[in-house]
Amino acid sequence: MAEPLLKVRGLQAGYGEVRVLWGVDLDVAAAGITCIVGANGAGKTTLLRTISGLVSPTAGSITLAGRDLAGAPCDRILGAGIAHVPEGRRLFRGMTVRDNLLLGAYLRSASRAELERDLDRIYTLFPILGTRRRQDATTMSGGEQQMCAIGRGLMARPQLLMIDELSLGLAPRAVDDLGVALQAIVRDGLSILLVEQDVLTAFDLADHAYVVETGRIAAAGDPDTLAADPRIRDAYLGTA
């Protein structure tokens, strides 16, 4: 593997007295989809929250293209090129789809024309968002909201897009559409770090996979190889 875009080493973090991450090592390759799977409470979301700066690490390093970002505030991490699409979408209620997307570009000092071009790019990727641009974003269907949340992340022009629970609560059809969109995003040169509870969906999309158990990386590798591993099959894919 060539030098990874994101390199996480020995990352420890938690909430107050409760430690959640116990030394996580993780690489995300440039221009590919990496997924993290694991059970509820394994620390997947905390891992993303620590990378994006919402949670401060107590030890370890996070480097993006050689730049050390561990412990930096959210705005610096986003500015460095990591956007985080949080679990549950977290769109801003009472704001239109367009305003939600524009907030994604809050940090950028882009011209109006440049922002309009970027909005058009999002509307090309997700045509339904163009149709609903003046609608309150939180009144849309779950799948459409996830599109809006991903579009909002893309408006920051990141190098790495982290998505927490892409498929949670969505119809299979919507997940398929999102998967197609993610592949288009990767073709444009972005990297995606995907956290998923649905292991089949994650392995289907990803080029590289990590399995997280109780705050540690339990297994890593090619998704097909992992899917063939009896231990992983029993724990995450069912025995069927």
């Binding site: 959210c74 705005d75 986003l78 949080p86 977290r90 801003f92 704001m95 907030l103 994604g104 809050y106």
Partner: protein, 288 residues
């Protein structure tokens, strides 16, 4: 008879505009930061003292003093939030309430030492307009217009500016706002600063129409509280409507039941609303 009611209505609107201006900053801070700023009444009076001092000491016209006094309060609020209140802003509301209560006691006593509690005001004889039997003193009319203008200015800042978008985003969802690259502690400081700025503008206007004394800081805080309950939290139109409603209730209540009853009516209205419609007359879900 109708002229009398027109006068009572006019008085109520003039009072209501001032109440709205007092409450809008308090409501913003409460709605966005979930901090009940016990200092708000003292901020108003501090600005009133500064305006009086500028007038008697240096002959500066209150309308000219309004902008610098408001900006001074903006700075005071900004740095208080950044340096002190931000340290406990995520704690339960009782913690921040206790902190601002303590800060208020400090400010209150400093004002008593510096300015003494003797009431003072700026008397400008601007004359009056008369429509038949209805009298409109121009100093009060000017205070009303400027109070509405300042309230409108805050609305424009919140709706139209980059800072305003950040404030609204932080109010909706703090973590999601942080993920947009919004620096939440700075936005909190700016929000508290804007709240103090509105109190400052109000104090400068209040010095024109009412005696300024530390004795009324608690009353002013109480008015801001009632307006928030009537109008709902965190929105400028809510504070404006709540202020006008309270002004009219006090004006008509004073006329019908006597001026000593008027201040009670606001609190009575608040109690009824809390029991019946806690989001306020104009409150929206998600803004409470």
């Amino acid at each position: 008879m109708s002229a009398l009611y027109a006068q009572v209505l006019l008085n109520g609107l003039m009072l209501g505009a001032l109440y709205a201006c007092i409450a809008v900053g308090f409501s913003l801070v409460w709605g966005v930061l979930n901090v009940i700023s016990m200092m708000h009444g003292s901020f108003v009076i501090l600005a009133g003292y500064l305006t009086c001092a500028a007038f008697t000491g240096a002959g500066i016209h209150p309308f000219a003093a309004l902008v610098p006094v408001a900006l001074l309060l903006l700075l005071l609020g900004y740095f208080l939030q950044l340096g002190l209140i931000n340290r406990v802003v995520s704690q339960p509301v009782l913690t921040t309430l206790t902190l601002t209560f303590g800060l208020d006691m400090i400010l209150y006593n400093l004002m008593n030492v510096w300015f003494e509690a003797t009431p003072r005001r700026v008397t400008l004889d601007l004359g009056r307009l008369e429509f038949g039997e209805v009298v409109l003193p121009l100093d009060r009319a000017a205070a009303m217009v400027l109070a509405l203008a300042m309230t409108g200015l805050l609305y424009v800042i919140l709706r139209g500016s980059r800072l305003g978008r950040a404030i609204v985003a932080v109010r909706m969802d703090r973590d999601a706002a942080a993920l947009m690259g919004i620096r939440v502690p700075r936005v909190y400081a700016a929000t508290f600063g804007l709240g103090a700025m509105m109190a400052g503008a109000c104090g400068a206007l209040l010095a024109l129409v009412y005696p300024i004394t530390t004795n009324v800081t608690g009353q002013l805080l109480g008015k801001a509280f009632i307006v928030c309950v009537i109008g709902g939290l965190g929105t400028v139109p809510g504070a404006l409507a709540g202020g006008l409603v309270l002004g009219l209730v006090e004006s008509f209540g004073g006329h019908w039941f006597g001026p000593q009853v008027a201040p009670l009516l606001g609190f009575a209205l608040m109690l009824v609303l809390l029991a019946v419609k806690p989001t306020g007359l104009f409150g929206q879900r998600g803004y409470e």
